[in-house]
């Protein structure tokens, strides 16, 4: 066989080996293009990328044009955020790998306020507290063995919070209200000092449990104290919880008291004073008078245990080096 024929055979073999792979794929992509042809261009993108692209386009018009947008995506879905950034441009974006990355950037004054949550299947404009609530709901409560109080019609929680510190600190109130009565209990909760009120009904012999009492009742992330009143005596348990550190402290039912029990002070130590009454009150702090409005809630950093008196409720929080929050309650 001549060299010319050998060359030709080799060329044919090579060409066939290439065409065997290219031709079917070429036919497939041309056929795909034919099916896309009748659709408008944006609809073609939707066909290619599914509902994910449609969700991006849906809120695109609502986003501010001149403000940077935070794209928060779970670390496993960062690619989706990268593509969201691509399709949203020229809307400027900043990517955060997970909600914790966003909250840890809180001290950064350039951190965007507008949030878009992205994952591999969906993108949506949202708020930080909604993402936080989703995560908390999907997780587990810290307190497994509840210490329910004796039945009573009023609870004063000296601290009620739904707030985040730097990751993993996630402060909230885990609450359980059990109605041992044969009649439903109408419960009225007031969050002070904002003064917002919510009412809930606990059925006869029923129990209501909350993984984030403040946010679930009031839909806000804030701190203060809370007055819970019930039409029927209820057994209750309210825990101040740091979900990120699986740390929980049972809250007492507060009444006027100021003699704070001595205890070790660590870091971030704060004195809290509340005025649970409907009238003005005066707290005497190390000999200095501090007038308090009705339902006031104040806190101040301290370095040593203060002497407090007056018709108020005072307590101290301090954080151990391991992040656990210790409470020094009044006697």
């Amino acid at each position: 066989m001549s060299g010319r024929w050998l060359t030709r055979i080799a060329a044919v073999l090579l060409f066939v080996s290439l065409a065997a792979s290219t031709l079917p794929r070429l036919v497939a992509i041309v056929n795909n293009a034919r099916t896309l042809l009748p659709l408008p261009y944006e609809a073609r993108r939707e066909r290619q990328m599914g509902s994910w692209y449609a969700s991006v386009e849906k809120f695109r018009a609502e986003l501010p044009k001149k403000e940077q947008v935070a794209l928060i995506a779970p670390p496993r879905d960062l690619d989706a955020a990268v593509f969201a950034s691509y399709y949203l441009y020229p809307i400027r974006t900043r990517l955060f790998a997970g909600r914790n990355a966003y909250r840890n950037a809180a001290p950064d004054p350039t951190r965007p306020n507008v949030i878009v949550a992205v994952n591999a299947s969906h993108a949506e404009r949202t708020e930080y507290d909604i993402l936080r609530d989703r995560d908390l709901r999907a997780g587990h409560r810290v307190v497994a063995n509840l210490q329910l109080s004796e039945p009573t019609t009023a609870f004063i929680l000296p601290i009620a919070a739904s707030q985040d510190g730097p990751s993993p600190d996630t402060f909230l109130i885990e609450a359980t209200l059990a109605n041992p009565n044969a009649a439903p209990a109408e419960v009225r909760a007031t969050f002070w000092p904002k003064g917002v009120v919510r009412t809930v009904t606990i059925p006869a012999h029923g129990t209501a449990a909350y993984y984030d009492f403040v946010y679930q009742l009031f839909g806000i992330m804030s701190s203060g104290w809370m007055h819970v009143e019930s039409s029927q005596p209820l057994r209750g348990a309210f825990y101040f919880v740091n979900r990120g550190r699986a740390d929980a402290t049972l809250l007492p039912n507060a009444s006027e008291a100021t003699a704070i029990a001595p205890g070790a002070l660590y870091r971030d130590t704060k004195l809290f004073i509340i005025n649970p009454k409907d009238t003005r009150a005066t707290a005497i702090l190390n000999g200095e008078s501090i007038p308090l409005d009705p339902h006031a809630f104040i806190s101040k950093p301290i370095e040593s245990l203060p002497v407090v008196s007056g018709d108020v409720y005072a307590f101290v929080t301090t954080r151990e080096l391991n992040g656990r929050t210790n409470f020094l309650w009044p006697q």
Binding site: A11, L14, S17, L26, I29, A33, L36, D79, P90
Partner: protein, 415 residues
């Protein structure tokens, strides 16, 4: 439609402004000149709009003048390979016109940069300073600058305007291969090599790195092809060789080591005249470094900083050395192409001195990339899996040239 017209008319005319040449080469030179001039203009703070206007006026004027003097009409050769080359290109053109961009790097890096530059008319504006999420902020931007020209002229940031650019680069590469191998070996060999190139799955239909994606690997392959053919050209145009090397440096991170390989081999070919390409490459590299120093880094790897870690990573040598041979045998991406290239290299090296230049280019480039696999901070096997086939694309021109030489050698022997 504006994107299509700009791609098809503006870049070839700018390429023709340097003198009469084939359409493929004119297109690639036009892309390179436009991107490089805009980049240098951006580095020295000349407003991009002004630079764009000047290039367009000068390039189109000169290009039209060249065309008026003599239109470079190629003689039709070898109808069968020509038809075989055209069929996939038509299919890809139809597809590019209809299907939206859908690849990873294209959207995550390259087309995003084109949008950013077109929107801000700057290469160091807020986009490159954290204004938006740009994961590989310091990647070279020659092709995104070309894309920005298209988007700016179209007054539209939609990536559908860029679809023609990437397909155009493949078509231009094929035409360059056809014309140059046609001249260096035989017109029929050139036509067949171009047809083979277009039918390689990695170029034609691979979603990540193929002609329907917005990766820059076909562009760097085309510029490397331009540089390689200058090494073999009897006219030995060192300025043009230097231009190709500058384009390589400004197109992708791999471009700088590629340019250095070409400079080293070019030193044997051009002798003292290698100084001109070296200066041009140096200017491009300096401009790139100055630009990079002004903008924050993304999450790209700094390989130069990783170089001292090579001794502790020598255990990776086995997996790095096996990377290219194993990917060369991936039939769905390459068919028996690389087997044919190896056989061709053995045959051609026995008779043709020029074959050794091609072998030296291929071996040096693949050795450089293998060293990168050893050095990388990535898990080598993962990096190899996503990059080896695209890096193999970069040596396609010398590989096709070896096949053309071998075919001619067989014919010579048989006659």
């Amino acid at each position: 439609m504006i994107g299509f017209i700009v791609t098809l008319v503006l870049f070839p005319l700018i390429g023709l402004s340097l003198g009469r040449r084939s359409l493929g080469e004119a297109f690639l030179l036009g892309l390179g000149i436009t991107g490089s001039v805009l980049f240098i203009a951006g580095v020295v703070h000349v407003p991009l709009v002004i630079a764009m206007g000047l290039i367009a006026v000068w390039g189109v004027g000169r290009g039209v003048w060249e065309l008026k003097n003599a239109f470079p009409v190629a003689k039709p050769h070898s109808p069968l390979p020509t038809i075989l080359m055209i069929i996939p290109l038509l299919a890809l053109t139809f597809t590019a016109a209809i299907t939206p961009l859908n690849d990873f790097d294209g959207r995550a890096f390259w087309a995003l940069k084109a949008k950013g530059i077109a929107h801000e008319r700057s290469i160091d504006g807020p986009f490159f300073h954290g204004g938006t999420h740009d994961p590989r902020n310091q990647y070279p931007i020659l092709i995104p600058l070309d894309g920005a020209v298209i988007l700016s002229l179209a007054h539209n940031l939609d990536d559908r305007n860029l679809r023609w650019l990437y397909l155009g680069i493949l078509a231009a590469l094929a035409l360059l291969v056809r014309e140059r191998i046609g001249r260096l070996v035989s017109p029929a060999a050139g036509a067949w090599c171009a047809a083979i190139l277009i039918w390689i799955p990695q170029f034609a239909v691979e979603p990540e790195g193929g002609a329907l994606s917005a990766y820059n690997d076909i562009a760097i392959t085309a510029f490397a092809a331009g540089a390689f053919f200058e090494l073999l050209d009897t006219e030995k145009k060192e300025f043009r060789f230097g231009l190709w090397l500058a384009f390589l440096v400004l197109t992708k991170s791999e471009g700088l080591p590629l340019a250095l390989v070409f400079l080293a081999i070019g030193a044997f070919v051009f002798r003292k005249r290698i100084l001109t390409p070296a200066i041009i490459t140096f200017v491009a590299t300096a401009a790139l470094l100055v630009w990079r120093s002004r903008i924050p880094a993304g999450d790209e790897e700094d390989l130069f900083r990783l170089l001292p870690t090579i001794p502790e990573k020598l255990h990776r040598l086995g997996i790095a050395a096996a990377a290219f041979p194993s990917h060369m045998l991936l039939m769905p991406r390459w068919g028996i192409f690389w087997i044919a290239v190896i056989v061709a290299a053995v045959l051609a090296a026995r008779i043709e001195r020029r074959a050794w230049i091609a072998i030296a280019v291929i071996a040096s480039i693949l050795a450089t990339y293998t060293a990168v696999y050893v050095t990388t901070a990535w898990i080598p096997s993962e990096l190899i899996a996503v990059t080896a086939d695209r890096l193999l694309m970069h040596v396609i021109a010398p590989s096709l040239f070896l096949m053309a030489l071998a075919a001619r050698t067989r014919k010579t022997l048989s006659s």
